[in-house]
């Protein structure tokens, strides 16, 4: 589904990725972990086609992603990927509902259809009450759940989350992770979570461990935490907190 081969990327004199290779299957939930500066976020940005690696290849559904031009990558991101950021990163001027609607409109959907989709996602994540509020009026947990709704509303095939609970206390973080994993499994989307929190990593089927820009564990499903490779089957319809396939 998603594959990176010997990626290299540096910023100035710091090497962020130094030959990292990973393989992620369809519907898998993986956690990318590692100490700060190990290249987690850079790997995520490369996989999501936000930045291009200096060397190596990124493949999505068998298609080279790193060689596409900016327009094509942007379209690919819009149609196939959803992103959740550490601080929610909602547009402060828009209401929660409008924040969810916006990417749908940009994706070419009609206003009414987008509004309906947004409302049902907000409801699904239990933030329907906040639909008319602006981000400044929301709590951290609510904010992040709206961000999850925004990422999921366009029904992406892959969801990328960069430290999605980094700014939350543990209960709010647990809730967000539960919703995120549960929703991803329900819609059979692949979920890639970058985190330095082991408790967040424990939601994933597999851990991809990075050290100094290299993958030291879990590069493929076979070497990862779960060996069965059929993640999500048992938990597809499971409770909101999401299950693990064993």
């Amino acid at each position: 589904m998603l594959e990176a081969r010997t990626l290299r990327k540096s910023f100035g004199r710091t090497t962020a990725l130094d030959g990292a290779s990973v393989e992620i299957g369809e519907g898998e939930v993986v956690a990318v972990t590692g100490p700060s500066g190990s290249g987690k976020s850079t790997l995520l940005h490369c996989l999501a086609g936000i930045i291009r690696p200096e060397a190596g290849e990124v493949l999505f559904a068998g298609r080279r992603l790193d060689t596409l031009d900016e327009d094509a990558r942007t379209r690919l991101r819009r149609e196939n990927f959803g992103v959740v950021f550490q601080f929610g990163e909602l547009v402060p001027e828009l209401t929660a509902e409008e924040n969810v609607v916006l990417p749908l409109l940009f994706g070419g959907r009609g206003r009414r259809e987008s509004l309906e989709a947004a409302r049902s996602w907000l409801e699904r994540l239990d933030v329907a009450d906040c639909a008319g509020q602006r981000p400044a009026e929301l709590s951290g947990g609510q904010l992040q759940r709206v961000a999850v709704a925004r990422a999921l509303a366009a029904e992406p095939r892959v969801i990328f989350a960069d430290e999605p609970t980094g700014a939350l206390d543990s209960l709010a973080g647990e809730r967000v992770m539960g919703e995120l994993v549960g929703a991803a499994r329900e819609s059979r989307a692949t979920l890639v979570v970058v985190t330095h929190d082991n408790r967040v990593a424990a939601y994933a089927d597999r851990e991809i461990a990075l050290r100094d820009g290299r993958v030291v564990a879990g590069a493929t499903a076979a070497t990862g935490g779960t060996a069965d490779g059929t993640p999500g089957e048992a938990a597809a319809g499971a409770s909101a907190a999401g299950g693990v396939s064993r």
Binding site: P35, N198, R199, A202, Y203, A209, A241, G243
Partner: protein, 174 residues
């Protein structure tokens, strides 16, 4: 931890008989070792001798007749006293994990590989606990939280050990 105090706590809700106490103990403290019947009765006898509990009658629900125990005023006072005490912070640095990691870092070369495998094992356990939390009872969630956070602490310590190891190695090599 004193089993007597846990039983007093369970009795503070309402009078209960021995079998009930055993069942509730195992349910409320799912992470702890299950309580043997013999231990329940021995403890109840001890409490009664000390005037902390008393026999409140008998109950029969289809099965054999059972003695119902109730907490006394003295028992409540003792329970309050115990709850007011704090647990001495105990860093269990004598754990097998600690010893293994220290020896592994001393041994050099293979330390990193060992630590990574230990990490994988920990994470697998954490994954199971996380999954259990999704469908468990409130008591099970609390127990899973407790275990998860301890495993997380272990992992973070292993992580630091790994980094320190690299730093120390750099120093001795230089």
């Amino acid at each position: 931890m004193s089993t007597g105090h846990v039983l007093l706590g369970l009795l503070s809700e309402r009078p209960k008989h021995g079998y009930e106490l055993k069942k509730e103990h195992d349910q409320r403290l799912p992470g702890a070792k299950p309580l043997a019947y013999g231990q329940v009765y021995a403890t109840l006898q001890r409490l009664e001798r000390g005037g902390l509990t008393e026999v409140a009658g008998t109950a029969q629900e289809g099965g054999p007749e059972r003695t119902v125990h109730a907490i006394t005023e003295a028992g409540r006072a003792e329970l309050d006293r115990w709850l007011a005490e704090i647990e001495a912070p105990a860093p269990y640095v004598a754990s097998p994990l600690f010893a293994r990691v220290v020896v592994a870092t001393l041994a050099g070369g293979t330390a990193e590989e060992y630590l990574l495998r230990q990490r994988a094992a920990h994470l697998t356990r954490m994954r199971e606990l996380t999954a259990r939390k999704a469908s468990g009872s409130p008591a099970q969630v609390l127990a899973a939280d407790y275990a998860l956070q301890h495993l997380d602490a272990d992992l973070r310590w292993i992580e630091t050990a790994l980094e320190r190891h690299t730093v120390l190695k750099g120093e001795t090599d230089a």
